[in-house]
Amino acid sequence: MNLPRAHANPLIGLSSTLLALAVSLLATVVLLVVFGSHPLSALMSFFVGPFSSPLAWGNTLNQSSLLVLTGLAASVAFGAGAFNLGGEGQVYLGGLAALAAALFLPPVWGALGILAALVSGMVAGAGLGAVSGALKARWQADELITTFLLSASVVPVVDSLITSPLFGAAGSFLITSRKIPQEFWLPGLLAPSNLHWGALLALPLAVIFGVLVNSTPWGYRLRLLGRNRAFAQYTGLSMASYSLLPLGLSGALHGLAGALGVLGTQHALVQGFSSGWGWNGIAVALIARTNPWAVVPAALLFTFLDQASRMVVLQGQFPFQLSALFQAAILFFITAQIVRRRS
């Protein structure tokens, strides 16, 4: 496997990442200038837009907190040498579980109810991820394929459950569930943006995972597994639990992101609300070279660029999803060895 990881010389790793980012950014800006209707004002809103108001700031921070979670999720799996391509479904299912908890638990539970809803989101996501881990441990079914396909089969099911009598709002024509009771809303920060207190969870989680992966024996074994599976096996590592664990943890983080989206931002489950979070998490994890410490700055940077492209499109200065193009370019170049190692 050829994933980017901490290089013996950190400067080479960093410069390679920065170069990949620069190439992707350049490609985006060139498109903006060539095809945008007003290149100059488009460039202005691209680079200044995300900082232009507390609203824009808050939304950027909120979105990046979610990306920290999905980025950590992807990097935990990558670090252990596993591909989790099922983030999309795991986030969505986590959102559904949190919705179910918030709709059916008695509202008087208050903060405890919020906690229960977040935990059910995590459990749902972890369950979906762990299934792939178990399939790998028991039957050697490649997780690259099972995570993707399981997620692909979950998404339409959640789509249809949202509008079912169980969760849907009677007489509403929107593709969304009922609103959850206000007791379960995560309190907002920096109104009128959609930033909320739950977003602050991302920072301690990044620290916890940073310590776990980089500074504990458990994390060492996980990284060993990612570097050289055969060698890890010879050292006596239990392959069963180390297939289950990274994918389960990864799923739990995805599920938490989905739950936070429901309790903090949407206060309902809107169809497709989390579309792209899983893929973007993979991009963030790769920018961070799968190191949990680097996930926070990577998520901030990624969100800034993503919001910037959205703003340009929103103001009609570019006719299509510029952000998808930027994301594609990042994924394409981020693992490339543009800076040659001297050998």
Binding site: L3, I145, L149, A152, R227, F332, A336
Partner: protein, 281 residues
Amino acid sequence: MNLPFDLFTPLLLAALGALFSERAGLLNIALEGQMLGGAFTAILVQQLTGNLALTVLAVTSFGALSSLVLAWGTLKLKADPFIAALGLNLLVPALTGWVSFLLFGNLGVIRLATNVAPRWEGIPVTFLLALALAGLAHFVLFHTSWGLRLRSAGASEHLMASRSLGTRGIKTAALVISGVLGAVGGAVLALNLGAWVQGVSAGKGWIALVALYLGLRKPLPLLLAVALLAWTEQLSGALQAIPELPGGLLLGLPSLITVVVFVITSAAGRPHRKSARVTSR
């Protein structure tokens, strides 16, 4: 019962594409994007020119070009083949949306006025061609020296290196074949439908990868695998006509069945993905 030609042919073409790439040791995850791109190119060129030969040419070029980009990224720039391919899979839907918007002013559906998919005695010609291609793939991979070199490149890079044989050329060729087959598969899918719809490939590029393993990575068992997967997809489509059954569950059914099938073949100990992951440095 109506035979699922419309599902069988695109899936078989894409699965044959997956076969070439996997045998060369560079499993092509970008098939999903290449099918989607092929479908879009086919409807676009057919709509603009009305010339089937030009359409075939355009679709083939798209498949080859997208594969060359992927080969450049993975073989020259040494990017991870799966991650770079994911990038391609994200790029294609964005590009189709953009081009469709530029040319037709909408992101939605393009419908062809006439059905151009030729038939012979009621059987789609593309179906017969795809069957012939499966036979050809078997011959090329297992009965030519080029096929032996391709399989050797996939089985052991060290062996090739020890014989002073490079693998970049042959891997590029395998990727190009793979991309062309995937794009043509997508084109057949869209031309059978007579229309372009956003996301028309709907995961078929991934199902093709499962068909590859279910088909034991050999062209002839692959036919059976593709037939089984096409039939299950048709079944779930037929079940959706029954109003008592929940629609969402059925939409998820093809992926779910595919996972189950994939796990069974994995458990039966078929040869595993030999691609780049093994060559960790």
